[in-house]
């Protein structure tokens, strides 16, 4: 294959039959390719070595508290939305060693970091997920850089896929994070299936993406191709299963800590932590000390934690947030309100995972709508209790 120069902004077409060459291009460049795979009745993220590893011909049907895989009537590679996993499991692993220390004549010393981070290629990153990565960047790659996150994040190649269908729990259009991929992608693919045609419109988003595209058999996109993509994205936008009015939510939620809805949702919430684990932006963690048997060598590990656990606010001899309602309030208020104060953005990207994976089907969009309703009797603000 003769290589052709490609540039950021190029819009090209890759035939489905040539898709394996994209995977080969990633492999030859030393990337560990990760993408959607079917496992345990769900589409999750895992290693991809062949096109056949992708959930070809599968789609997902999602509702509050419900997720089912179904066969499609075509052989689409990306004909579904997001599953329980997100890319955070690679960039911010659920369990990660922070450092290792050894006892020494001087007491102890921390060993230089020896971790070699893999070079990931993420295949099939949706617009809401790119937004989620941007949000976690503000947590882990800000004033204090997390070395592991920083290295994995800056190496990771992002091959995005624009959603050509929306799920029943999707509301990225409300949150302004999708379905169109317009930033942070190396390549963005849009899968087009019409009659016997099956191809991908490829948007080149970065130098690395352009380089990867050089040895792919691509043809320039026609106006008709571009229009087809625009039509698909418009249709996706219009068919979101959920909507959320995010306007003014920060002030609204911070101003309503005594709203009766918190008590009401607290009766349904099991504090199981599923929403925080499935959420692509939730970042809370705890640390664990792991000494070897004679305590000459210790490792400090970080693992995902959740604001829904009782131990999360343990302090001294008791926990601050003992009720389910206070923990749900913390989660929702943090996600949609105080996140703005802390990181200059909402913590919600509208992916709908927390709705789908809640075992009792608590729906964040429904809760927000209920919290927007004025209480008949206003609780005096700032009064002592």
């Amino acid at each position: 294959m003769s290589s052709v120069h490609r540039s950021i902004g190029d819009r090209l077409v890759l035939e489905r039959s040539d898709f394996p060459m994209l995977l080969e291009g990633l492999r030859s460049r030393g990337y560990v390719t990760l993408g959607p795979v079917v496992r345990d009745g769900a589409i999750v993220y895992g290693p991809i070595s062949r096109v056949e590893d992708l959930p070809i011909g599968w789609t997902d049907r999602q509702e509050a508290g419900s997720y089912r895989l179904e066969q499609r009537h075509d052989q689409a590679l990306f004909g579904y939305t997001v599953g329980p996993h997100s890319w955070k499991k690679y960039l911010f692993p659920a369990h990660e060693r922070l450092w290792t220390a050894e006892r020494s004549p001087e007491g102890f010393h921390v060993l230089p970091r020896s971790e070699r981070e893999p070079r990931y290629a993420f295949l099939g990153v949706r617009a809401c997920e790119l937004a989620a990565i941007r949000i976690q960047d503000r947590v882990f790659d800000g004033a204090f850089k997390d070395p592991g996150y920083h290295q994995r994040r800056s190496e990771a190649l992002r091959i995005a896929v624009q959603c050509t269908q929306a799920g029943n729990t999707c509301f990225c259009a409300s949150m302004g994070t999708g379905p169109r991929v317009d930033a942070d992608h190396d390549l963005a693919l849009t899968e087009i299936l019409t009659g016997s045609a099956h191809y991908f419109l490829v948007d080149v988003g970065s130098e690395r993406g352009a380089e990867l595209a050089t040895d792919l058999p691509l043809r320039p996109a026609t106006e008709a191709d571009v229009r087809a993509v625009d039509d698909l994205l418009e249709k996706t936008s219009a068919s979101m299963g959920r909507t959320m009015n995010a306007v003014g939510l920060r002030d609204l939620l911070l101003g309503r800590p005594e709203h009766s809805r918190w008590t009401e949702v607290g009766k349904r919430c099991l504090t199981c932590t599923n929403c925080t684990l499935a959420c692509p932006t939730c970042f809370c963690s705890t640390t664990e000390e792991v000494p070897d048997l004679d305590a000459d060598r210790v490792e400090r590990w970080r693992r995902w934690d959740s604001c829904f656990t009782l131990g999360f606010t343990h302090q001294g001899r008791a926990s601050v947030r003992t009720s389910a309602s206070s923990r749900y309030r913390q989660w929702l208020t943090h996600k949609l309100a105080s996140w703005h104060d802390q990181f200059g953005t909402s913590g919600c990207v509208g992916c709908g995972r927390c709705i789908t994976w809640c075992p009792v089907g608590i729906d964040i969009t429904e809760e927000v709508a209920a919290l927007r309703k004025e209480e008949p009797v206003a609780v005096p603000a700032g009064g002592a209790r």
Binding site: L98, W99, A101, R103, E106, G107, F108, H109, V110, L111, P112, R113, S114, V139, F140, A143, F144, K145, D146, P147, G148, L254, P257, E258, F283, C284, S285, T286, T287, E289, P291, A295, V298, R300, R302, D305, C307, F312, T313, H314, Q315, G316, R317, V320, R321, T322, S323, S326, R329, Q330, H334, A337, S338, D341, Q342, A381, G382, G383, A384, R385
Partner: protein, 288 residues
């Protein structure tokens, strides 16, 4: 310590912002039955990191874990760190058991401290409850050592009982100063106690300060701070001039673990010292 951190950051094996720096325990003072003061010095010498009164460090007991502990030393003294630890959990218990010569890990200092710059030229009210005196001690050193920079100074320290008073000898010597009023009150005492019995808020009405030009600092149990802030506000101090040192569960100290949130604030990054005006609405709600 900071130079060391910078050197590591440019190297390949940077252990990241969570790595503790070994310090030696220079001395240990038992304050009360469960509270101990440690003096630490960085291993390999050096001046150690400077800090602002009200900031804290993460102290690390090898093989056990980390805890957030306030700075309790004189900020003008270089080369040593002073921390007062109450044995409550496994980490603070391990820290309390350290002896001179033992090694402890330190990372910090973290957080925003007392508004010392705003205090200059003004009256200052300091209210401490129990272990809450520990994070206030650096600012008390500052007040006494630059006494002429401040107006009237009222210090009110409450404790459960006389046996639970911290820094006992130091308080005795501070109380001999005639340019400052240092009141001590306890919740209960036997007949050998000649001091006041009561709570700190009872001392507010006759405290001498000009409300329009006073900064109040407080640290203690949340309910004590809430009531103290209300008492000071009733005397006319603006909520923006009343500063509280807050406490929450803390794992990382760098606004990444999420544990220490109080309303929109990360206590580790935006606090631990915050003005009452900004947090009163959250103090008024349960389980925030």
């Amino acid at each position: 310590m900071r130079e060391f951190a910078a050197e590591l950051a440019t190297g390949t094996g940077d252990p990241g912002p969570y790595a503790p720096f070994p310090h030696r325990v220079i001395s240990r003072t038992k304050e009360t039955a469960d509270t101990t003061t440690l003096v630490l010095a960085p291993i390999g010498g050096g001046k150690g990191a400077r800090f602002s009164p009200g900031q804290f460090n993460m102290l690390y007991a090898f093989g056990v874990g980390e805890a957030a502990i306030s700075m309790s030393g004189d900020p003008s003294e270089e080369g040593t760190l002073v921390h007062t630890v109450r044995a409550v959990g496994n980490v603070s218990t391990a820290l309390s058991r350290l002896k001179p010569g033992d090694v402890v890990g330190v990372r910090g200092p973290y957080g925003k401290g007392w508004p010392v710059d705003q205090m200059r030229g003004k009256d200052v009210v300091v209210m401490a409850g129990g272990l809450g005196l520990a994070p206030l001690r650096p600012v008390i050193y500052e007040l006494y050592s630059h006494r002429e920079d401040y107006g009237r100074v009222e210090i009110i320290y409450g404790s459960r009982s006389p046996t639970e008073l911290l820094y006992y000898d130091e308080i005795q010597s501070w109380r001999t100063r005639t340019d400052t009023r240092f009141q001590v009150t306890v919740d209960s005492a036997d007949r050998n106690w000649y001091g006041d019995v009561g709570v700190v808020t009872q001392r507010v009405p006759d405290a001498r300060f000009d409300p329009a030009r006073t900064i109040a600092l407080m640290c203690g149990p949340e309910i004590m701070m809430k009531l103290s802030a209300q008492a000071l506000e009733a005397r006319g101090i603006a909520p923006s001039d009343i500063w509280l040192s807050m406490e929450r569960n803390m794992k990382c100290a760098i606004a990444q673990c999420g544990h220490c949130q109080f309303g929109p604030y990360f206590i580790c990054r935006d606090g631990p010292v915050l003005p009452y005006a900004r947090i009163r609405r959250f103090l008024a709600v349960r389980e925030v």
